[in-house]
Symmetry: C2
Subunit: 518 residues, 2 copies
């Protein structure tokens, strides 16, 4: 029978509660899905044992080992270094992070992380959820290839003399990260500073970035058996967190405890299996309902963005593992409560019935405040009571309108608790992906956009050359010359004209592009 | 015939382009919807003329007058002050904002805005999209009733001696804002500072807040004919922006020009009518596809959150205007490109076909950089070219998978352009709401959550009293005594126990709550 409430201890007095009483699950759901659930848990065990889970790329999927290195396969296929190599790599990386942070103690006031996707969202979540004004360093992020955005970050983080740069890229070839790194390096040069003395690389052995960073302050590893969206408990998350002063050991420990709790074969005792069941029931195993993530805690504002990647990139797949076209997925959005009540909860309650909510409740309102302000806003009522009341009120109002929700309750928010929450969602994704038979560990759809972008950049070079050689005309004219889609030609040349590289006359789709004369 | 591309001039060299070539609209869609579209444009004209558009609350809806005060009804029903009163109010408010900012020149280094929903999202968008390191003041926001979050904002904005507080609340009764204001006032008191000498109220005449703020630095108006989610071109948006050093006049002017362009009766020339048609076609007039907002510009990161409120709170309605149950809505989410390509675009391309994308393209990569960094990352290719290439590449990859998108292109990002974009979405919402026959100007679903929350807070008081009187037991026991839902009792008492107000023994739903002794 599916329980409607489950508490899991993570040690250190931390209990995570999963409350399904507003989810309306059929009590025999676990029996009806007993077969697929059993398979899902077996597959998760096989994954943890070193099976090739990412078949496309022939890779193992080992992010769970990051919290329990002793579980890593002792002599995995293709592993260099022999038995125990993976365990040793993980423990060495922990030690290297620790030593590096000690070595840098007292140096650098601010950290600039250059990374995108899994190399930014996890570190950003940790920094925002666990940061305090008294932290060792403030951490900034450059996570795009927008020149204006890069300029803004560089100004915020200035002066560069006090800045430590952490470039995170498995291959070193992700263009946004590479561009960010090149622009930052140039800014150091312009400031008369030696970039290598301010830079750390987090990258895979043998990558382009690894080669380039041999003289930097440090190089730390990424491994092919950790995917970007599950890398937050690897060096990717641990290093920026440690530089900020966040307790990475506690993060790992919380995740490890949750991993253990979610290995339980009895579904009724396994919060990840239960949550996967709830997702399955809500969206009929097809993701028909979006997951609206509503943490009632300002610090968890980035949780939904983090989960958006973890869940949507893992589950949003065209084909299932049998090769059938399924167009799976599970949409995730949300910001925070009670703020969002004043934004889109109107639609959640009255409008389209196409979502279920995931409330996150943090019981402790906060430690007694050093500012000595009082949070008692009425006799016997604090602003935290309001926050708690709004969660309950919104959940009930949604339930009254027939909208389902589940609630995760944690006692407070620290590194251990956040580690536990992250692991819970990671393992729910693993189990749910098995239930609906998709490969959670690849992202074939991302390549198409990259290829198309590379074609557009190639087209730009050809067009700029054509025009430099004296050709001119409308996008249609030039598309014929360049043997390209007129829409792409228009896109490229309008952008080039706006940035002073070609001349333009007229308006609309028929504007005429030509060489800048004189 | 529906054009697939339209350019609108906003003056000052600004052209906004709406590109529907990736939207796949049927060419005769405007003819098939000619009747509803004509009605929608008539209704918008009637609204601008002072019709009671918010019938539930007997209110006019006048946010478009904020950009053209001369259009406000000259002798509106119920208007105090006679003919021209609304026009005068708007012009007086502009003047008052200007004078106030002059009066405060050189005083206060930072601004703390206390507000939620429409009283925060608009100002936040302006501040982030248009802010620069050299601005007159930095603006911070307190937009929730989370004690921990409040503490964090207070620490970030410290020292309070240099802080100007702007409390924005129409009624003064919104609990999150009221709690924020009380906590901030207490912090000023604790710091030995006179709050009234640091505070400005933006509120409706006769409100609780209006009464309390008579001795503050200033009081500026909110009007009942401007709804929260469309208040960004009122004092709500203009005052924080002006204090930061943002050109509010340009914002208004950009919105005014877009308002004019979107009054055109010829649908083919009217970008709001065209965008409403596109929304209608994408989601079959039922919002079957979510709108994923992807601005390729870091500064527009908050646009999707802003539009989430504008669109979902306006369109997410249970009943249409004929009283039929329709459960309408249009879900909005998104962050920014190309960053999101490394997060959930995998699902957009390969997964569920349940969205259409709205790309926002900013042509100018940025002014030449004062930091003297170079954005040329390869010979002849800048990081901005990559950004532009990624937009085109992702759009094409989505199109290849049969996913629709529309693109808004602006030449650069300044106050005028942002005003134009905001007005375009506001007017699209007005027209689309008419097309699907819902009232875009009320939010009845929000009340249910507020009522339920108030009940929970009342229950908390009763329970704390019961327990202080010596009662104890499980949530079930105490629910029987308090005649309440055991789930609510459990929720309230677990929170009270975590914050040291009642004692607790045991775990799970059967834990026992009692008085703290000694």
């Amino acid at each position: 029978m599916v329980p409607d409430y489950l508490e899991v201890s993570l040690g250190r007095g931390v209990t995570v509660a999963l409350d399904l009483r507003w989810m309306g699950l059929e009590p025999d759901l676990d029996e009806r899905l007993a077969g697929p659930l059993g398979r899902a848990l077996s597959e998760l065990a096989a994954l943890e044992g070193g099976a090739i889970a990412n078949a496309d790329e022939g890779r193992m999927v080992g992010h769970y080992w990051l919290r329990a290195p002793e579980l890593a396969p002792r002599a995995a296929e293709g592993e260099q270094g022999g038995a125990g190599a993976i365990e040793r790599q993980i423990r060495d990386a922990w030690r290297d992070v620790e030593r590096l942070v000690l070595r840098l103690a007292g140096r650098f006031e601010r950290v600039l992380v250059v990374g995108i996707g899994g190399s930014a969202l996890g570190p950003q979540l940790l920094s925002d959820a666990l940061g305090h004004p008294g932290d060792a360093r403030r951490v900034f992020f450059m996570d795009n290839t927008d020149p204006d955005g890069m300029t803004r970050v560089l100004r915020e983080v200035a002066p560069l003399s006090e800045v430590l740069v952490v470039v995170i890229s498995k291959s070193g070839g992700t263009p946004e990260t590479r561009n960010g790194y090149l622009v930052v390096r140039e800014a150091f040069k312009a400031a008369g500073l030696a970039f290598a003395e301010h830079a750390i690389a987090v990258t895979q052995e043998g990558s382009v970035l690894s080669g380039e960073s041999s003289k930097w302050l440090a190089r730390l590893p990424m491994w092919d058996w950790v995917g970007g969206r599950t890398s937050v408990t690897s060096v990717v998350g641990l290093l920026p967190a440690a530089l900020q002063g966040i307790d990475g050991e506690a993060l790992i420990e919380g995740a490890r405890r949750m991993d253990e709790a979610t290995r339980r074969p009895d579904v009724a005792e396994n919060p990840a299996a239960l949550m996967a069941l709830a997702w399955h029931a809500a969206g009929h195993g097809r993701g028909d309902k979006a997951m609206v993530v509503l943490p009632y805690k300002d610090r968890l504002m980035l949780l939904s963005r983090y989960l958006q990647q973890l869940v949507m990139e893992s589950l949003g797949k065209a084909f299932d593992r049998a090769g059938t076209l399924v167009n799976q997925g599970l949409t995730v959005y949300g910001n925070k409560g009670s703020t969002d009540q004043h934004a889109y909860v109107q639609q959640l309650r009255d409008g389209r019935d196409d979502f279920f909510a995931t409330f996150v409740e943090v019981l402790e309102d906060g430690p007694p405040d050093a500012l000595a302000t009082s949070f008692a806003v009425e006799p016997g009522v604090t602003s935290g009571d309001y926050l708690s009341g709004f969660l309950a009120g919104t959940r009930q109002a949604l339930a009254d309108a027939g909208r389902r929700s589940l609630t995760l309750t944690v006692p407070w928010l620290d590194a251990s608790v956040l580690g536990g929450l992250i692991a819970l969602f990671e393992r729910t994704v693993s189990i749910y992906a098995s239930l609906v038979n998709v490969n959670a560990y690849h992202q074939p759809g991302v390549e198409a956009g990259k290829r198309a972008a590379a074609e557009v950049l190639g087209l730009q070079k050809r067009l700029v050359e054509l025009i430099a050689d004296g050709e001119s005309g409308t996008a249609d004219d030039l598309a014929a010359l360049a043997d390209a889609d007129p829409r792409d030609v228009f896109h490229v040349l309008r952008h080039a004209a706006a940035n002073g590289r070609v001349a333009v006359e007229g308006e609309g789709l028929d504007r005429v592009f030509s060489r800048i004369e004189g």
